[in-house]
Amino acid sequence: MTSTAPVPTLHTFAVRATGVDRAFGGVRALRDASFSARPGEIHALAGENGAGKSTLIKVLCGLVAPDRGRVEVNGRVATAFQELSLLPDLTVAENLLLADPPRGRLGLVRRGRLAPEARRILERFGVDHIDSRAVCADLPVSHRQVVELVRVLATEPRVVFLDEPTAALPDRQVEWLAGHMRRLRDEGCCVIFTSHRWREIERLADRVTVMRNGTHVATREKLAEAEAVTLMSGRTLGAMYPEIPPPATAGPALSFSDPGGISFDLRPGEILGVGGLAGQGQRELFLTLFGAGRPARVTVDGRPIRIRRPKDAIRAGLGIAYVPEDRKAEGLFLPLSVRDNITLATLGRRSAAGFVRRGAERAEVAGIVSRLGIAGGGAAAGTLSGGNQQKVVMARWLLADARVLLLFDVTRGVDAATKHDLYRLVAELARAGKAILYYSSETEEIAHLCHRVLVLREGRVAAELPGPVRDAERIVAAAIADGEAHA
């Protein structure tokens, strides 16, 4: 740590990608993407979900081979991945020392030395709240994130990739990380990171590269947020979001009251936003309401109902539907046809003696496919684009006559044009009287689309803002202000 790195003179870049293409299945994640970062700088990669940032990082660090194009790297690379690369069944110490464990005579690993050695590494980075003997799967996500970062920092790399390093970190740890990023930069290391929080990019980055639809859009030293958003989305702000109709004045379609600290009424036609920093209990709330978490008690049309499994929530008369962020894991059956995907939840209704009535099915599917504008209706769901896949999941629940829609980060990994389609669809569904609970990792969306916003922190409602809020910073401020008060 004492050695001051010589500033390389031979290379003006630490990493460079030129004209890189990469496709997964039918989806082109990178198209003719180029990128370059220098030694001794903190370089932010900005872009919407699905812009290709994570894929670019994987290509640059050699985990994914490009289909076309050239990648050059100078010096040792270390990467902290967004989907953590910690091994869940191993201890913190084993994870930290997997590459270079302490060895004694005969080159055998000295297992007794693992924990103290790891503790020393953690302490070197000022981490004293994590037991190096703990099994990683047992740690809370924020601790795992810290371990992942220490694992990366401890290798003393020349190039560091940090993909969404702060997504699961509380504020104090964000400061901790910022300090180490600056130190690495000052030692001549090239630090490349992505973040969803513009404040962090502004504060930390020496330069920013903006990506859109898998390609390089701009690299700047100074970039104002408004311009960044325009560059990232490819259109000017405001015009993107449709006008949302006022909610009906009828009584609530759904009431939820949880002794844990969240209660709300959701009226027909209302879009209720759920905001806050990532991982503050939003996902748990959505899963609970859908019967896939803890058993929940809700009131529908004044009747108290217990939901213990998704089947209960879906049942006609209740009509709750969940559209997940991770469509591939939780929503879709990729090898199956669009038809099979759409009709799965309503098979019972279109059957006689257990046989699917194919005529009725064909007509219904054709109707909903054209109504939502799903392209590629005859093919397997896996061949569709992200946006069309999300529409397939929505179509399933519209066929089920869902009255309450739980939309959890549905625009994740969707291109700008389809996002626009989805916003319009959400507004249209609200107009048709659906009650909608809406969460997005892009706070902008919640600020513009929702009638009302609940800001969550640590599983409780920290603030309730009347909407449309329009200014996303107000939601972030509410999430953070409260956080600091509690911390």
């Binding site: 985990l63 990467t79 991945f81 953590l84 690369s85 910690l86 091994l87 869940p88 069944d89 191993l90 084993e94 997997l98 590459a99 464990p101 080159g107 055998l108 690993v109 000295r110 297992r111 099994v135 047992d138 694992r151």
Partner: protein, 306 residues
């Protein structure tokens, strides 16, 4: 509670051992002699070796069904060709070669382990039949005296060596990587673990373990049989499972599997001394397996609840 699941094998072995002592004592009115212990040990050794190899494979999230064929082939070669210690390396090489074939198919051919080893099982069994068409053959007495001496506890030394071998392996980088792959192969690859190479090595070692098991098998039975390996497929899986090795990989240890193997062997004696018709033996072994695993998943559930 994680520890409890990991120590399942030892708990089950302890419980079985207590049951064994109890039924033996009530049945015969005395405690077992050193001779009794030694004969149990000697007959268990082959399974111990196969279970160690199987647990290595299972720790990476795979499975090796071909152990039946590999053991058969090595039993046949041992019974036919081994006339002194100098031929033993040949047997070990043949077993390892079988493992190498599996490793290549799984790691380089990208075929699911259960299918790859299902296909090599009849190939190895066929080779065993070619070497030894009818049961027979022999093993030199000097090898018997060293491996499974019925009067001297040589078996204890080999058991100790087997466990020590595992403990050494656990302390190599290879050993750490085995757990890393079983825990999450994708993440292991991302942090630089050579997944294919380690996978290959694990199957090769399983083959070597089968060869060792075969030598000990012929040494206890004093003759060979080209179908001798077949029962080891299921018993080795049972030993691994009872020993607390997670089927999804990444959790457990080969020592647990050794305990599991010993427990499975003891159960047979428990049934015998309890006066239960040996025809019902499989029934109790099956129940034993399922109940032991249910206890394991119960422990995991409790852990999650806390």
């Amino acid at each position: 509670m994680r520890d409890l699941a990991g120590r399942l094998g030892y708990l089950v072995l302890a419980a079985t051992a207590v049951a064994y002592l109890a039924v033996y004592a009530t049945g015969l009115g005395r405690l077992p002699t050193a001779f009794d212990y030694l004969s149990i040990l000697n007959t268990t050794l082959p399974l111990v070796f196969v279970a160690i190899g199987q647990s290595l494979v299972v720790l990476t999230g795979g499975i090796d069904l071909s152990v039946g064929g590999t053991v058969s082939l090595c039993v046949a070669v041992t019974a036919v060709a081994v006339t002194g210690f100098e031929q033993l390396p040949l047997v070990l090489a043949i077993g390892t070669a079988c493992g190498v074939v599996n490793g290549l198919i799984v790691a380089a051919g990208r075929i699911a382990p259960i299918l790859a080893t299902l296909a090599t099982l009849p190939i190895f069994t066929g080779a065993a039949l070619w070497v030894l068409p009818v049961p027979g053959g022999s093993i030199p007495p000097q090898i018997r005296a060293v491996l499974t001496n019925p009067d001297l506890p040589t078996g204890l030394i080999w058991l100790g060596l087997a466990v020590a071998g595992w403990l050494v392996l656990r302390r190599t980088r290879f050993g750490m990587r085995v757990y890393a792959i079983g825990s999450d192969a994708g993440a292991a690859r991302a942090v630089g673990v050579p997944v294919e190479r380690v996978t290959f090595g694990v199957y090769a070692l399983s083959g070597l373990c089968c060869a060792l098991a075969a030598v000990f098998y012929v040494s206890t039975t004093t003759a060979g049989d080209a179908n001798a390996g077949a029962p080891f497929i299921l018993t080795s899986i049972a030993a691994v499972v009872v020993g607390g090795v997670a089927f999804t990989g990444g959790r457990g240890s080969a020592v647990g599997a050794v305990a599991g193997a010993a427990a499975l062997a003891l159960v047979i004696d428990v049934l015998f001394f309890a006066g239960i018709d040996p025809l019902y033996q499989a029934l109790f072994q099956g129940l034993f397996l399922v109940v032991a695993v249910m206890l394991g998943s119960l422990a995991m559930l409790l852990r999650r609840a806390t």
